[in-house]
């Protein structure tokens, strides 16, 4: 390795110098388009386009390999084979602690698929190149938004909506006299002519709204990140590094590093001055494993922590920052209740958040949430469909691997989502639900009938449903890695080195200041007390005997 020729300080200095140089160049150029192609001059993009797939075909006429690349990515397949556990994961397969499952709910869930028309998993053609959605990620106008229930399509005709929920931006809305709002379809030709690299909003349109609403699912990914202040996210803030998602999730051939199924909790990959490995995503990829000041004892001691404490643990003191709450508890068992035959909702008077919805059950929301800390080696295992559960305990929708005794595990912050979810009372495994489907008579959100909803959800699979169901307590672990605070807000030593600190319940590790030494302390203190008592007794006898001698 070339780096081996340099001593560490030299390497560090080179790295800092090149980072500074890169940073200044990046700041000057990154946000302004420095592309060599002006897409508005391309004949193929003149339009007009009737549908999204028409635009895609135009894109592919030049970017011949793009669709093939996208179709190999998890954004398209929604499928992930875990290299450690061998489990088949991905949205297509897993159950989660939010809306539950994709199967039977496709047109709603697949509004965030990087494609068009995934209405039914059996029939959707995963090889059709024109079904890849280029614009969701490459639109720079902000006017291209996939309609929430169109299986990935935007709308192509004006559409009236009466509800307060407005998926499209103000520019595409027309208020009508009857109180309804007409959503205008985006001008696909204009969007196509202004394509560019993805910004925070492109990724955010889906990733900020997982679980059915702003920040519902992740807790560390919300609409606040479109333009956060430094407190919320020091990297993404326009007042900070003003980075976009792909500055860390560096794309190569439409594949991005960064996974919640297999997290990178350690990264000792060689640091080349000015370069980073773009196939590995971790804080260390840019910041190295010794990011704290080497010239101070405090910095050295902090660097001592990086082998067992994730950067995120100290540098993300809270998530769900900036005023957008995250859902932390979701009790499905109460869903389906009606008042006078009609669905209803209960709002929190202070925050306005739904506390209850007939469609979804009871919720709890939290802001500025202190994470839950556990040892993690990056591996996440799921309770897959048909896997036996213990309904009397807390059922792990997923489980994080790792322990204090495993040197590859680090202390990592998590959002621990809890709730109650349906399971087969006879076979004792979790059940799929059918929640979405305005036309049929099975969807829970339309018909409020659990029996039909669960039967319809399970009918999409080969796993039998006994017809009897109950609800089990569940938990789900979500690693927290975004919303990094400025260094000045990082946790103090005593946040953890204290008896009642953040790691009060973390087992298997000795933490000075948190843990005493039991018998050793008792013996030590006893001997100290005896010494004190001894000298006091000796002194007392001296005083008494001296006064008697007088």
């Amino acid at each position: 390795m070339v780096t081996g020729m340099f001593t560490r300080p030299v390497r560090l200095m080179c790295m800092i110098a090149s980072l500074l140089a890169l940073a200044s160049v990046a700041h000057a150029q990154m946000r302004e388009s420095d592309t060599t192609a002006d897409h508005s001059k391309f004949e193929a993009l003149k339009g007009p386009f009737e549908t999204g797939p028409d635009v895609t075909e135009a894109c592919l006429s030049c970017h011949t390999e793009a669709a093939e690349q996208v179709q190999q990515s998890i954004h398209w397949t929604w499928e992930y084979e875990h290299p450690t556990t061998g489990q088949k994961l991905g949205k297509r397969h897993v159950l989660n602690a939010f809306c539950g499952n994709v199967a039977s709910n496709e047109p709603r869930c697949t509004s965030c698929h990087a494609g068009y028309g995934w209405e039914d998993t059996e029939t959707f053609d995963f090889t059709a190149q024109n079904k890849v959605d280029c614009l969701a990620c490459h639109d720079t106008t902000g006017s291209y938004v996939k309609w929430p229930t169109e299986a990935g399509h935007p709308i192509y005709e004006p559409r009236d909506r009466k509800s307060a929920y407005r998926p499209y931006s103000e520019a595409l809305l027309q208020e009508n006299s009857d109180g309804s709002v007409t959503h205008m379809p985006p001008d696909l030709a204009q969007v196509a002519q202004k394509v560019g690299q993805p910004g925070r909003e492109n990724c955010g349109n889906c990733h900020f709204y997982g679980g059915g609403g702003d920040n519902v699912k992740h807790g560390d990914l919300s609409s606040v990140l479109v333009s956060p202040d430094r407190h919320v996210d020091v990297h993404m803030s326009p007042d900070g590094a003003n980075m976009v998602c792909t500055d860390c999730h560096t794309a190569h051939g439409h594949k991005w590093p960064g996974s919640r199924y297999l997290g990178t909790v350690k990264d000792s990959s060689a640091q080349m001055p000015g370069f980073r490995r773009s196939d590995v995503l971790s804080c260390q990829s840019c910041h190295s494993e010794t990011p704290h000041e080497m010239a101070s004892l405090e910095g050295l001691k902090l660097n001592d922590h990086t082998d067992r404490v994730a950067c995120q643990t100290c540098h993300i003191p809270e998530f769900a920052k900036g005023g957008v709450a995250t859902k932390t508890f979701w009790d499905w068992s109460t869903a389906g209740k009606l008042k006078d035959g009609k669905p209803y909702s209960v709002e929190d008077e202070e925050t306005g958040h739904h506390k209850y919805l007939s469609t979804k059950g009871d919720f709890e929301w939290e802001q500025d949430v202190v994470p839950t800390y556990e040892f993690w080696n990056g591996v996440v295992e799921y309770t897959l469909l048909g896997e036996r559960i213990d309904p009397d305990g807390v059922v792990g929708i997923n489980r994080i691997h790792g322990s204090a005794g495993d040197a590859d595990s680090v202390i990592y912050p998590f959002k621990r989502m809890t709730g109650r979810q349906a399971y087969d009372a006879v076979h004792e495994y979790l059940l799929l639900n059918n929640v979405y489907g305005p036309e049929g008579d099975t969807a829970l959100w339309t018909n409020f009938d659990w029996d039909k909803s669960l039967a319809a959800g399970m009918a999409e699979t080969d796993v039998p449903f006994s017809g009897e169901y109950a609800f089990a307590d569940t938990e789900m672990w979500w690693p927290t890695t975004h919303m990094v605070a400025p260094a000045s807000e990082a946790l103090d030593c005593q946040s953890c080195h204290a008896k009642d600190g953040r790691l009060a319940n973390l087992a298997g590790v000795y933490i000075p200041g948190r843990d005493g030494m039991g018998l050793t302390d008792r013996i030590g203190l006893l001997l100290l007390a005896l010494a004190l008592a001894g000298v006091l007794g000796h002194a007392t006898i001296r005083v008494i005997s001296a006064s008697r001698r007088k």
Binding site: Y510, L527, L528
Partner: protein, 201 residues
């Protein structure tokens, strides 16, 4: 024949060493107790910083003191002896209450009694190195890969020994001819000791 004279028995460096060490040891014990979670009341992070600074200072001080002891020959005051030891122990256990005089007569060549010699030697050869070495092991535990708890345990045990030494030492300082006699000697450097005339300066 020797007669008692009021002479300097503790050199300037010796007194500086003693009192600086005293302050540092107390500071280290208090911050150490905070770091160990035995006491609260102030910032853990501040305790950590102070503990390291004071540890660094006391190590420097010890290096100077070791050098001083060897270059001045003062190390000979710590050569252990059992002569008169029994009498000294008997004095502290009994005679001190009945008004006996101290059986050991300090001279300029033997300024410590046999019990002092043994206990100071124990401090210098056992407690001090133990706390110093385990402290450095604690600080560098990540480099050596040693087990954190084991290293912390040895350091804590050494610290308890130091705390017990301090308690007894402070009390013993009150057992001179007057309560403050030893203290005054340690501050001024002068005490009444038996001096051969040719030794007096």
């Amino acid at each position: 024949m020797a007669e008692k004279q009021y002479v300097k028995i503790f050199a300037r460096f010796e007194r500086f060493w003693h009192w600086t060490q005293a302050a540092l040891v107390l500071g280290l014990l208090v911050t150490g107790a905070r770091l160990h979670g035995l006491i609260g009341g102030f910032d853990w992070q501040a305790a950590f910083g102070l503990h390291l600074i004071m540890a660094g200072l006391i190590i420097v001080l010890w290096i100077f003191a070791i050098f001083w002891h060897f270059t001045t020959g003062q190390w000979q005051h710590y050569i252990p002896t059992f002569r008169n030891l029994r009498a000294v122990i008997r004095y502290y256990g009994w005679g001190i209450f009945t008004g006996e005089t101290h059986p050991a007569k300090p001279t300029i060549r033997r300024k410590h009694n046999p019990l002092q010699r043994l206990s100071y030697l124990f401090l210098k050869l056992v407690i001090n190195p133990a706390i110093w070495i385990t402290g450095i092991m604690y600080l560098t535990v990540n480099l050596t890969g040693l087990d954190l708890f084991t290293v912390a345990w040895t350091h804590v045990v050494a610290a308890y020994a130091m705390a017990i030494f301090v308690v007894i030492h402070v009390y013993m300082a009150t057992t001179g001819e007057t309560v403050s006699a030893y203290l005054r000697a340690m501050i001024t450097g002068y005490d009444w000791v038996a001096v051969d005339n040719d030794e007096a300066r």
